[in-house]
Amino acid sequence: MATLTTDATRTGRAPRRRKVRSASRPNWLGGLAGWLWLGIVIIPIYWIVITSFKSQDTYFSGNPFAPPTSPTLENYRLVVQSDFPRYFLNSVIVTIGAIVPAVALSFMAAYAIVRSAGKWLTSGISALFLMGLAIPIQAVIIPVYLIIIKLGLYDSLMALILPSIAFAIPLSVLVLSNFIRDVPKELFESMRLDGANEWRTLWSLAFPLTRPALVTVAIYNGLAIWNGFLLPLILTQSPDKRTLPLALWTFQGQYSVNIPAVLASVVLTTLPILILYVIGRRQLLSGLTAGFSK
């Protein structure tokens, strides 16, 4: 996959340099912090995974860090039977349903802002989007709840999709317009001379050139929406509209004593993201920072 592109080099995956560093003394403090942190990160994760394969009684009797002597899928069966496939599907629908329009609309808006730079109207629009970076979703959740009720969307997946799109737009427009600005003016000019209108220029020139940024923005927002908790908590009610984070919470409320089952639900809901991480680690990591270390 030719995925290692602009944004990857931006986060510093620059060509490997000569081994200048290794000639210097080792960084003991950094090394210590690094290995210590590895333990802090890995130990809970290890515990989650092994415990999720233990039966409830062996969990209580044995050493919590020993791998299960007779691994069982019982916990996973309980999780799957508790309607998790449905919640998984809901999460997929909400994430895809929000991220595709969010990225497409942000891309168009970013293009418009860059292409008509200097006009007062687009400057105003651009400033309005920038302001959005400072609006926390928690602070406006009450009016969003009211609007969703008024639109008759309460307790539907659409109620989660629409605000998710809106709150993905400001950062996406900012990142994408920075990338579109990097496209050489001459290319736009030659498109124009070829008689292409703006709509065609958008898709056949700007789109391919900013694809890495589009992927970055899609990953960053996609992960935030996939893991989102507040919107489903407030805007849905019925069990069959739950997305995974909310389902995890209610499952834990129901089975709090059955720790292996609770941990199996955590593993199962994280698995899809973990698989994506293994496949496209660099893309995902550069997507996570969305150009913050640019």
């Binding site: 560093r21 809970p44 400072a134 602070a139 994280t270 973990l274 913050f292």
Partner: protein, 308 residues
């Protein structure tokens, strides 16, 4: 790799500047994004201010009630407490995460193979939802069924979420566990962009590692430190999911920050008016902090700050 190469340019690349063919209008392309953004972000921002002057139980009709909600919120001792908790969380978030993230960032910036591998493991917490992380730690710290009783370790077998101090410490630990990888990742990227020649020159001058860190690394990534600090501080203002699932603001109201105070007032006590007033305060505090941090970073050029 191919995406970076500019496509072959057909036709003349240089044109006479005078050829003023009218450009097609593009402003309309911003309108769909603008519409949905206005309906679900700008209108709610104004709406929350309007709602703070009303009385509403979340179901029935909304009645204008002047300053009732504000009077209620401003005289409630819960508000200074929630502000204090929010401030404590913010201060500790920054004080704990910045030095550790910097250290790990420096460590991960090295190009050794094993560090790449470590980095892959380090970033796993970034993928988990706050709900999943909170649930895991709730199970892990359970005084009856968690890790402590399993290992028969007395100091791990405490009622972690039952005492105010311990619960606060747990929240700070879990927040660090969740967010330090993100900030390390930002620092790693920034540190790798520092030209190696600066370090080489410093080494020739006999500067040690610590000297290099303070005289080269820190000044070179000053901008990134400000971005990371802004994200930490403004982000910590709105911690909700994690605290909600972990402690629900408890025990008592030991971990009830502004966001939780707003949620509980609005969606549990059904007082949407006062909850909106708290939300307005949340917005104001956030704006104040963002402007303050921008002022602190004022010496940096405008164009750099745009990236934040």
């Amino acid at each position: 790799m191919t995406a970076l190469a500019p496509p072959v340019v057909r036709g003349p690349t240089t044109t006479a500047g005078g050829a003023s063919v009218k450009r097609g209008a593009v402003t309309w392309m911003a309108l769909p994004a603008l519409a949905i953004y206005i309906v679900f972000a700008v209108v709610p921002l104004l709406g929350v201010l309007v709602l703070s002057f009303t009385t509403w139980d979340g179901i029935g009709s909304i009645q204008a009630s002047g300053l009732t909600s504000w009077r209620r919120v401003l005289t409630d001792p819960g508000l200074p407490h929630a502000l204090w908790v929010t401030f404590k969380i913010m201060a500790f978030t920054w004080l704990i995460q910045t030095p550790i993230s910097l250290l790990i960032g420096v460590f991960l910036a090295g190009h050794q193979r094993y560090r790449e591998f470590l980095a892959a493991l380090f970033f796993i917490p970034l993928l988990l939802s706050s709900a999943a992380i909170a649930i895991t730690y709730k199970a892990l710290l359970d005084p009856n069924f968690g890790l402590g009783p399993g290992l028969h370790l007395a100091f791990l077998t405490q009622d972690w979420l039952g005492s105010a101090q311990l619960a606060f410490a747990v929240v700070m630990f879990v927040v660090s566990w969740q967010f330090i990888p993100f900030h390390s990742l930002i620092y790693q990227g920034a540190i790798r962009q520092i030209p190696k020649s600066i370090y080489e020159a410093a080494m020739l001058d006999g500067a040690g590692r610590i000297r290099q860190f303070f005289s080269i690394t820190i000044p070179q990534i000053k901008y990134t430190i400000i971005v990371s600090s802004t994200l930490m501080i403004v982000g910590s203002l709105t911690f909700f999911d994690l605290i909600f699932v972990l402690t629900e603001g408890g025990p008592g109201d030991a971990t009830r920050n502004l966001a939780l105070d707003m949620y509980k007032t609005g969606f549990q006590a059904n007082l949407m008016g006062p909850a909106s007033a708290i939300a307005v305060i949340l917005v104001l505090v956030g704006l104040f902090l963002a402007l303050l941090l921008q002022r602190l970073g004022g010496s940096l050029s405008e164009s750099q700050l745009e990236g934040a």
